[in-house]
């Protein structure tokens, strides 16, 4: 277990344009830290900088409490799982697992014992004598994992380790990796472009975009309180609906996309800027209308697309120039072209500054609590 600290880290290939800049983050010992972002955002580069495979051109990297900028990869006390697993095709599974131990001149017997131990842990015991090409994708992935576990390093780096697996196996390996990380207490730095992996695996996640940190925090906080419109649309599926909006002082209403007028409570109206804003709302916070719904919270839409996913129904419609989506739980019989009333409440919307994208108003906490009292009563 070791802390990894990045202070003002930046990277440029041509000494002019930074592909990564101003990275300040501390990854706590034993933490599962996920780096997530769209492809080309610099997340893999950042991981490789931590691993020592890429040079750090600015700032300080600390591993443990030591400055590690100029340490060679093997002196950084970490292991890494590559996207294509980087298994040695000419070596057996056992030799692949013990490669790093052999480099460190560990006794053969000891190597074999450790390989067996780790193989048992990952269900690879029957495959120790096979070559990687004789394994399935999931098994190869496990070998790569075993190789990193057997090194017993306090830090483990993973570069999109699940992206070559099919959906079912991916879900399985997700929980498996998480279980092993908890069991061994490793500090894990995990790169992915998949927001589901980020949400489900990370203790904390960091969202990168164009080499800059967008937000760092617990997955649920990032989901609830995205720092800017980019994060809002990147995390969550379907993404958060966004629309340009203005505040109409005369009627104390928000005007969304020039169409929807949403009344603003008296105590909130003072906090809103007079300039343009971006208003966001999660698809699950657009509700069907019930008899209790206040008339001013309702707006009418024309359905442009419907997807019934079994336990929930997602339909889209157009607001201004944006396509919005709403997610209703249960199965709804909606057809394309239907006129549909939808309820939206001021308390569930997020408001971002129109220029800087900064979050101005958060949504209320939609979280539920299980209270044993109610059940007893």
């Amino acid at each position: 277990m070791k802390r990894v600290e990045l202070i003002d880290v930046s990277k440029s290939y041509d000494k002019q344009v930074d592909v990564i800049s101003n990275i300040n983050v501390t990854i706590e010992p034993g933490e599962f830290f996920v780096l997530v972002g769209p492809s080309g955002c610099g997340k893999s580069t950042m991981l490789r900088m931590i691993a020592g495979l890429e040079e750090i051109t600015g700032g300080t990297l600390k591993i443990g409490d030591k400055v590690a900028n100029n340490l060679t990869p093997d002196k950084r006390d970490l292991s890494m799982v590559f996207q294509n697993y980087a298994l040695y095709p000419h070596l057996s599974v056992q030799q692949n697992i013990t490669f790093g131990l052999d480099v460190k001149r560990m006794k053969k017997e000891e190597q074999r014992r450790k390989a067996k131990e780790v193989a048992a842990m990952l269900g690879l015991s029957d495959y120790l004598d096979r070559k990687p090409r004789e394994l399935s994708g999931g098994q190869r992935q496990r070998v790569a994992l075993a190789r990193s576990i057997v090194s017993e390093t306090p830090i483990c780096l993973m570069d999109e380790p699940l992206s070559n697996l099919d959906a079912k196996l991916r879900a399985h390996m997700r929980s498996e990796i998480r279980r092993i990380q908890r069991q061994l207490g490793i500090t894990m730095i995990y790169v992915t472009h998949d927001q589901v992996e980020a949400m489900t695996m990370g203790d904390r996640i960091m969202i990168l975009h164009e080499g800059k940190i967008q937000q760092v925090g617990k997955p649920i906080d990032i989901y609830n309180y995205p720092a800017n419109p980019f994060v809002a649309t990147f995390i969550g599926s379907p993404p958060m609906n966004l629309a340009k909006a203005e505040f109409d002082k005369a009627t104390s209403e928000l005007v969304l996309g020039g169409e929807i007028r949403l009344p603003v409570p008296m105590d909130e109206s003072g906090k809103l800027p007079t300039t343009t804003m971006t208003v966001g709302i999660r698809p699950e916070n657009l509700y069907p209308v019930t008899p209790e719904t206040k008339a001013e919270d309702i707006f009418h839409t024309t359905v442009t697309n419907v997807e019934i996913l079994g336990n929930e129904t997602v339909f889209s419609f157009t607001i201004g120039e944006e396509e919005w989506m709403a997610k209703w739980s249960g199965q709804w019989h909606i057809d394309i072209g239907d006129q549909l009333p939808v309820r939206m409440e001021f308390e569930s919307i997020s408001i971002f500054d129109g220029q800087s994208g900064e979050l101005l108003k958060r949504t209320v906490d939609h979280g539920n609590y299980v209270t044993t009292k109610e059940v007893q009563a």
């Binding site: 093997d74 590559f82 040695y88 790093g100 480099v103």
Partner: protein, 295 residues
């Protein structure tokens, strides 16, 4: 009959598709090959027509001929001089040129450039360099006040000299093939081993060489066959001399056939060479290929 005709429709179609290569191979490979084997059992007239069937006499003559035994020895020595050194050198240069350095493209071009020079042209260049009075090598020796060497004229040195020039000529091709093999190795394997702390020679031994083994196997096979078939540089540099020391089998075949007009014994030599190369290649596949790792 008509049912046979109908049943064989697939076979006939297949033969039709194969016809172009069957014709080409027949004209340029099969016919000359069988003609050579046929001729090796005959004494021929001056035009190379079979005259008297002598059975295995040509072969008996060859095996007792000190000239042919000398040729075979020289050929084997020549192969031993050129192939291992040539491949080790090419591997060394390829490893150097595979490093990510500034301007490495220049060196890659230079190292592979001998591929673009014909055997004849480069032999002429080497002829000048080996020249005892005006050649570069003897000039160099005299600068360091070392005794002069009669490179191509001394029976002790001639085969070695030809071998040196041959190594140089073949370097480009071997280099290019090996460099290609090196660049095919997944970079992540090296990165992963660097994280494990493997040093350069450990990586070379446990990753590079095993991963390169198919390429090395290929280039060794090709180089062996090429070395056994060396002709051009012998013809230009030494003409088989001095005192037969560089009279390699192919050159000996050429002399026997086109200077002495003994097409029968020449063909017999060709068949013997064919058998030698065949055996060496089979041995290689049997013994060495086991150690080759294919993806």
């Amino acid at each position: 009959m008509s049912t046979f005709w109908r049943k064989s429709v697939d076979a006939r179609t297949a033969v039709l598709y194969l016809l172009p290569s069957i014709i080409l191979f027949s004209v340029f490979i099969f016919y000359p090959m069988f003609r050579t084997i046929y001729l090796s059992f005959f004494l021929t007239d001056q035009n190379g027509n079979a005259a008297i069937n002598v059975g295995f006499e040509n072969y008996q003559y060859l095996l007792s001929s000190s000239e042919f035994i000398n040729s075979t020895k020289a050929t084997v020595l020549f192969v031993l001089y050129t192939v291992p050194i040539g491949i080790v050198l090419a591997l060394f240069f390829a490893l150097l040129a595979n490093e990510k350095l500034k301007g490495i493209g220049f060196f890659r071009t230079m190292y592979s450039s001998t591929m673009g020079i014909s055997v004849a042209a480069s032999s002429v260049i080497w002829l000048f360099m080996f020249n005892p009075s005006i050649g570069m090598f003897n000039r160099l020796l005299s600068v360091f006040s070392l005794p002069q060497i009669q490179w191509l004229l001394d029976p002790e040195w001639a085969l070695l000299s030809v071998a040196i020039s041959t190594i140089w000529m073949n370097l480009g091709f071997s280099f290019l093939i090996i460099l290609g093999g090196l660049q095919n190795i997944d970079e992540h394997l090296y990165e992963s081993s660097r994280i494990d702390g493997a040093g350069y020679f450990y990586r070379l031994r446990r990753i590079t060489l095993p991963m390169l083994s198919p390429t090395l196997f290929f280039i060794i096979t090709i180089s062996l066959i090429n070395a056994f078939q060396t002709f051009g540089q012998i013809d230009i540099l030494t003409k088989g001399g001095p005192s037969q020391s560089t009279n390699l089998i192919v050159y000996s075949i050429y002399r026997e056939a086109f200077i002495n007009y003994q097409f029968g014994t020449a063909s017999a030599q060709a068949v013997v060479l064919f058998v030698i190369i065949l055996i060496v290649t089979i041995l290689q596949f049997k013994l060495v290929e086991k150690k080759v790792h294919y993806q």
